[in-house]
């Protein structure tokens, strides 16, 4: 049942993905920018610019360019960056794992702190703890991320030198041999503990900065759904029947309450992939958000399209995975 449902959903993704490429193609071509002339430098003659346009294949009519792009996508050729001449796929292989690492760590932190905080808030509703958790959670969201990041960097990294300020690893120690491109994971796979600790320390500040926003939403969402579940009859019955409060909460209440929270987490993964660019800029984290934004600034079409597609695809896949999880959390859910 589940497998057929997932397959059908996967097929249904195709039009969405084509829609994304089409929309991105249109919006990245309507700006009055001229990335080729920019790449050719201030002194290029018209003839030299034309020459470069032929090199990149952007001298053709737009609809042909789009069709060529789609054909390339299927053949594993995602085009080239006009600024750096590098294949987009190679760029994405570099930037995307960095983003996955950062967003993954941020979500992990947010769940680790947010879920217990939400549960406690719900159990001690309107108590001091609840109000404090609310203010702290909401206050975290209310700080612009780049500002929070800069403040953390100036104090923790430069003032007290507790953490590295920028980058993903210390060049003195070297970069862990690439397997997945997720450095912390690579270090673990290599069994290189020095590199693991080093990359983890580099990850700490940006991940924390990025976690603050989802932390707030996850806390609030967990609290709200816990409250709802706790008012249900079966929880009251379970309590009345003398089950230990801890068992009631973890085994029955929390499991059911996690459905909206899981949805929230899924949505956040997609948003953070591109939305993390401010934090990436502060910590020089070479992620896909920064790659997308910088490409957008130069109207570098194919990197924009490639990264948008990858982000969109990740978003859809993560949300599909979330739907599949619903079944585990609540066996009553059927996939029709």
């Amino acid at each position: 049942m589940l497998r057929r449902y997932l397959l059908r959903q996967l097929v249904a993704m195709l039009p969405t993905l084509v829609g994304i490429t089409l929309l991105t193609f249109i919006i990245s071509h309507v700006a009055p920018a001229d990335p080729v002339r920019f790449a050719a430098g201030p002194h290029a003659t018209q003839e030299q610019v034309e020459q470069l346009k032929r090199y990149f294949g952007v001298d053709q009519p737009l609809h042909l360019q789009y069709l060529n792009y789609l054909r390339g996508l299927l053949g594993g050729d995602w085009g080239r960056s006009i600024r750096s001449k590098q294949p987009v796929l190679a760029d994405l292989a570099r930037y995307f794992p960095a983003s996955l690492e950062l967003v993954g760590a941020a979500i992990f932190l947010a769940v680790l702190l947010g879920v217990p905080l939400g549960v406690v808030s719900a159990l001690r509703r309107n108590s001091l703890v609840d109000n404090l958790a609310r203010v702290v959670a909401v206050a975290g969201v209310a700080l612009p991320a780049f500002w929070l990041g800069l403040l953390l960097q100036l104090t923790l990294a430069f003032q007290w030198q507790l953490f590295p300020a920028v980058g993903r690893y210390s060049p003195e120690l070297g970069r862990p041999a690439a397997i997945t491109g997720i450095y912390t994971l690579d270090a673990l796979l290599n069994g290189n503990w020095t590199a693991f600790s080093d990359t983890l320390r580099h990850l700490a500040l940006p991940a924390f900065t990025l976690a603050v926003n989802p932390l707030a939403t996850i806390t609030r969402m967990t609290r709200a759904s816990m409250l709802e579940v706790l008012s249900r009859d079966y929880i009251k019955t379970a309590r009345a029947s003398g089950l230990a409060p801890w068992t009631v909460i973890t085994k029955y209440a929390l499991k059911n309450a996690m459905i909206p929270t899981t949805t929230m987490i899924g949505l956040n993964v997609g948003w953070l992939l591109a939305g993390s660019f401010l934090v990436e800029a502060v910590f020089s984290w070479p992620g896909i958000g920064l790659y997308t934004v910088e490409s957008s600034f130069y109207s570098d079409f194919q990197p924009i399209m490639g990264s948008t597609l990858v982000i969109g695809l990740t978003f859809l896949l993560v949300n599909l995975a979330v739907e599949a999880l619903y079944g585990l959390l609540d066996p009553r859910i059927r996939y029709g």
């Binding site: 829609g19 309107n126 209310a142 612009p144 800069l150 409250l227 709802e228 591109a274 997308t292």
Partner: protein, 304 residues
């Protein structure tokens, strides 16, 4: 309009009104009981008051509204003359923060208002009509939700040229699917409710059903979402300002002020701290208010 209403319809409307009035009373008592919600309300009121009274509060209104320079006073620390210090062109930061409240309110209202204006009718239509309309809308919102909002905003601003109103338009275009989805979901569930069925049975026209019965009842979650989004709109505009695509000079927009001030973070702390504080308090206000609303209006959450 009233005379064309059927008696049954009037009775239903009256019942709904009574329900709402009771709701309002309950809401107020709940509000009074929740200190954080009150705090949120207070902060939002403070923002509105500052915006209204800006010309009377700001010591140097020209610094916020006119192209002026005081190069000799640049980057002066807080003093009696300039309680929040001055920026890199010598402008009074207090005056700019105070006038920034007006810009912030404009952002908040226009982004959320426009997103709702697009999203709510589309969502209501899709939810009510169902069928292919709903499928098309679902696919469209899918594309918009999966497309990084930032890419879309930057592209729109690059196309139209950077300005605050274009940034607001871009944010609204990115955010409307949220409202469409929410409204559609509400309409779908309300369609099954007894009072809607009743209205349909007595022959009330579909458009009246949507507007009089369904939307009025779907408004609660919309208000909650809107008040939370108002906070996020301030931050999103600040994010666009950070990359130079938001408000243009000399508009005193807080996000732009702190993104410029970040270059002076180490030695001229006052440049970012005061606009940062203003953003912080406003977003905090909208969020606490929205959060409080959600708590109050959520029927499951009343009592334990």
């Amino acid at each position: 309009m009233a005379e064309t209403r059927l008696p049954q319809d009037l009775a239903l409307a009256a019942a709904a009104r009574a329900e709402r009035a009771r709701g309002a009373r309950v809401a107020w008592s709940l509000l009074a009981a929740s200190p954080t919600t009150l705090l949120g309300l207070g902060l939002v009121l403070l923002l509105i008051l500052t915006a209204l009274l800006a010309p009377f509060i700001a010591p140097y209104p020209d610094d916020a509204t006119k192209p002026v320079l005081h190069i000799r006073d640049r980057l002066k620390p807080p003093s009696w003359a300039h309680p929040f210090g001055t920026d890199e062109l010598g402008k009074d930061i207090l005056s700019r923060v105070v006038f920034g409240a007006r810009v912030t309110i404009e952002i908040v209202l226009r982004v959320v208002g426009l997103a709702m204006l697009i999203g709510v009718p589309l969502g209501a239509m899709a939810g009510f009509l169902g069928g292919w309309v709903s499928t098309v809308l679902l696919r469209l919102t899918d594309v918009f939700l999966a497309l990084p909002g930032l890419v879309l905003s930057i592209a729109i601003v690059m196309l139209l040229g950077p300005s605050l109103s274009h940034a607001m338009l871009a944010l609204a275009l990115v955010w409307w699917p949220g409202y469409a989805r929410l409204t559609q979901g509400q309409v779908l569930s309300l369609k099954q409710e007894g009072f809607v069925e009743a209205a349909r049975c007595v022959g009330v026209s579909p458009s009246r059903i949507i507007f009089d019965h369904i939307l009025r009842n779907a408004v609660t979650p919309l208000i909650v979402k809107a008040s939370l989004d108002m906070g996020y709109a301030i931050l999103a505009a600040a994010g666009l300002g950070y990359i130079g695509l938001g408000a243009q000079p000399p508009t005193p927009e807080w996000g732009v002020m702190i993104s410029k001030g970040r270059n002076y973070l180490a030695d001229q702390w006052w440049y970012t701290v005061f606009p940062g504080l203003a953003i912080f308090l406003s977003v905090l206000g909208f969020n606490l208010l929205g959060d409080g609303f959600r708590d109050m209006l959520d029927p499951n959450a009343h009592g334990r």
